[in-house]
């Protein structure tokens, strides 16, 4: 330790002069022999990526010469020509629409007969709804998934939920001090 710095520490906290001791940290063997090469390799890759990026950004040689014209053409397009609508087309559509209307009127009474003359004016009570549901065949989400898919689902580690994480990330900030105390 340099004298000046040693004196300074001795004056402030003599205990720390002895504590400095040996360096407790170690590095993997050959670390410093390989570090230079590692850094240079990373720089080479970065340089390569940067040059690729630059080449991707390259533009056609006459791009800027033609750009002004392109922009001007877009903002002030040449006079638009008036649109000619052929009237016979409208007539044809009108005739077709009339036929459809006539057919609908003729067919209407028959279709009405097909609808059962039943009304649902009575309200269904909750109990009745539960009774109906309990009679119907029970289909859960699990039934809709193949056994194989289900096994895969439970084996997938990404789906594991850490309850502690959930508590920390979401719940703990929403509790009051009293609720936190009870929880702890």
């Amino acid at each position: 330790m340099k004298d000046e710095i040693k004196k300074e520490v001795e004056q402030l906290a003599p205990m720390l002069v002895q504590l400095r001791g040996k360096n407790p940290f170690k590095v993997p063997s050959d670390y410093f022999n390989n570090l230079e090469q590692e850094v240079i390799s990373t720089i080479d890759v970065d340089t390569l990526l940067l040059s690729k990026k630059d080449s991707d950004k390259s533009i056609p040689s006459d791009y800027f010469e033609s750009l002004t014209d392109k922009v001007l053409n877009t903002v002030s397009p040449q006079e638009s020509k008036s649109k000619i609508v052929k009237l016979w087309n409208i007539k044809l559509i009108a005739i077709a629409a009339s036929f459809v209307a006539i057919l609908a009127l003729v067919a209407w009474p028959e279709t009405e007969d097909l609808i059962p003359n039943q009304t649902y004016s009575q309200e269904i009570t909750t109990e009745e709804a539960w009774e109906y549901l309990s009679l119907s065949e029970e289909i859960s989400l699990v039934d809709l998934i193949d056994d194989e898919d289900l096994n895969q689902l439970f084996e997938d580690n990404d789906l594991e939920i850490n309850i502690d994480d959930l508590l920390l990330d979401n719940i703990i900030y929403q509790l009051t001090d009293n609720q936190l105390q009870e929880l702890l």
Binding site: L12, A13, L19, P28, L35, I40, I43
Partner: protein, 179 residues
């Protein structure tokens, strides 16, 4: 060992050759500075690589207003402080828990070979804010002058002296209480 002037001249004639010389000259001391800041080898390795990549990229813009080594130390310190800041932002544990987990991790770390006293010193250093830890490390371990520290940390010499004295006192008090 090349002087700054010689090194910069070499960079002008052959950038890669200049960079190899610069790395040979500074890689170990820069690594140890970063390692003392971030503790773990894997983190230090990432940061030391980022530091030298930045040195390579920006050496052309280096102005001869400061020494090359203080400039490299500035990059290394900033990289370390940024890393510690983002690590702290991600952490949700208290300082006590952080200290305890640090000790457990260091005991299990194959790249740490310190005794109980060294562990206690690391625990004490954990109570310092990151920038104050940098001040303490640069002076206590790197034996850097306040003038050079001022270039590294872009802080006035007076402020650095006060910060270092305060850090030393805090560490001494902590160790006395723990022993």
């Amino acid at each position: 060992m090349l002087t700054d002037k010689q090194l910069l001249q070499l960079f002008k004639t052959d950038k890669d050759a200049g960079f190899r010389v610069l790395m040979n000259q500074y890689q170990e001391q820069v690594y140890w500075h970063i390692r003392r800041m971030v503790i773990y080898h894997e983190d230090a390795d990432d940061i030391v690589q980022n530091t030298f990549i930045k040195v390579y990229r920006f050496i052309d813009k280096f102005e001869n207003n400061s020494k090359i080594y203080t400039w490299i130390y500035r990059i290394a310190t900033n990289e370390s402080l940024t890393f510690l800041k983002s690590k702290k932002r991600r952490s949700t544990v208290t300082i006590d828990d952080e200290q305890n987990s640090l000790i457990n991790e260091l005991k299990a770390d194959s790249y740490f070979d310190g005794d109980e006293v060294q562990l206690l010193l690391q625990k004490a250093l954990k109570i310092l804010p990151s920038k104050q830890k940098a001040v303490f490390n640069l002076r206590y371990y790197e034996e850097m002058s306040y003038k050079d520290m001022s270039e590294v940390l872009t802080t006035s010499i007076g402020a650095l002296k006060a910060s270092y004295h305060h850090a030393v006192k805090k560490i001494e008090k902590y160790i006395k209480n723990e022993r």
